[in-house]
Symmetry: C2
Subunit: 324 residues, 2 copies
Amino acid sequence: MARVAGVSQATVSLVLGGKWHGRVSERTAQAVRDAAGGLGYRPNLAARSLRLGATRTALLVVPALTHEYFARVYAGAARVADEHGFGVVLYPSPAGVGPARDPFGSARAAIDGVIASSMAADALTGIGDGGLPLVMLDSDPGVPGGPPTVNLAVADGMRRITRHLVALGHRRIAHIASDVDAWTFRVRTDAVAAELAAAGLPAPGRFVSALHVTAGRDAAVRALSAPGPRPTALLCDDDILAAGACKGARALGLRVPDDVSVSGFDDLSLATALDPELTTVRLPAESIGEHGMTALLALLAGRPAPPVELPLTLVPRASTAPAP
Amino acid sequence: MARVAGVSQATVSLVLGGKWHGRVSERTAQAVRDAAGGLGYRPNLAARSLRLGATRTALLVVPALTHEYFARVYAGAARVADEHGFGVVLYPSPAGVGPARDPFGSARAAIDGVIASSMAADALTGIGDGGLPLVMLDSDPGVPGGPPTVNLAVADGMRRITRHLVALGHRRIAHIASDVDAWTFRVRTDAVAAELAAAGLPAPGRFVSALHVTAGRDAAVRALSAPGPRPTALLCDDDILAAGACKGARALGLRVPDDVSVSGFDDLSLATALDPELTTVRLPAESIGEHGMTALLALLAGRPAPPVELPLTLVPRASTAPAP
DNA sequence: TTGTAGGCGTTATCAT
DNA sequence: ATGATAACGCCTACAA
């Protein structure tokens, strides 16, 4: 490459690195660029990484990619990364929660830092973050000396949707809860209970379900056919569960929202694909990804990354109505 | 590292590379492993790549990650890659179709090959695959000397669902078609028309829509309120459009499937989240990802990668019923 | 304004 | 059975 341009390696590096101003003549620079174009030259990134000691690549660890939420977190992180010349590699932790296989053990892209989304704190120790800069998204903010966090105001969102239902006159509310043992879901259970207690209402029945439509439907059927007065609202931990809950209600001959109100959480595209559209809470998924990447970049630059908490928005739609 | 173990670099490399049998004494090997463990040693992948000339990393180019289909393709590709010690980096081509920004221009992971999913053939030229091994998924199989392809039997799937509707007695069928100009959608239009012609039925009205629920709903409303006799079935290019179509039908006071049958395509999780559940065609998304990665590995090993076509499955569910 | 040279961490070859 | 050594391609002081 340097040979073809008739100059030395150093000159090529300078020109292509964009820092030749006042150090290489314009004529020579142009010759180098022509040669590069002609040869279809592509810098060897491995060599560059080796020399620079950095790869300009971040690893995003998510429990499951098929959940739209994580795809959006990735999109946000990738956008910010791209603006700074970084790449983002995805590592869908197979176990979901629990210690993941070490993504560094096998041969994969070398990385400068890790962003972990919605993972249990201890699941990351399994990842063997050997001194690698780490940012945690949507996870337990408890640890003071721990990694920087970017969190969602999940508790506040859950309280808002609870208040929404209470304001509609609902007094018997069942909580269709995810069975995933993660901070984000524990918080939701506590927030619902606290808000109902504050309103002087009885504690909600809690029906645990896997994060699938069919499991959500079954949980809703259990909730609606439990002994005692029937709930008039199903408050679900997730839009997917809410979709199942709607099906469960209809399977029992109940109409949504006339007989039973149903609320979701996440504002996935699913929420507006359903009929009636779901009342839900919007999570700024892209935004959390962007903030996560920004925090990691700060860490990499030696700057502090203050904790962030992003607000959630209640999105009232047609699946909730005044209590019958 | 070599110093700590009291041996030479070469010995370390041999032991950690797992090819020391009969070349390094058991005692020395153990010492090396102990030292590695104690130091939390991590091989520098950049250096390895530089030396080996390969990165054991593939790039998967997709038009959009938020579509569940591509998340599943990724999952399949990543699974096979992992089995072979490869990583997969995702590149969501911003434009969807059309020339993408060059992912190699900016600093990102060095890669050994590219898998492109559902991309227009010319969109890849913009990607500047400078001699990089390339596999195309779900794209125009036309070119004989072109890259290996892994395709879906899209035309066959579309014909099957058309036959399904015809068998249910539908005679007036409207096609809710995606506005994306890609091979996979052009094939669908042709297949529907061909199958209806073969059955001696009139050509379907074709209503073009963006790949969103609301756009699908609008297209369905147009289809159902067009002059002339009302269609009794809406054959949609995608589950997302079908979800919109159901909403459109209901907005006009029609019941699904009693008054209008609706069919989808993809078998996303959305298909069973809806009520009634969608009759659709299942795409083996993971499988196509797996085959794509397998083909790329073959290419990388200098082996030929014969074209693959994967069959689709008709999944009859509750959104289609006999014509009224 | 341009060229020379050294070294990043790894693997492979060859010598000991 | 083990150690010395030379590359891989790039960047960057420093020399010319």
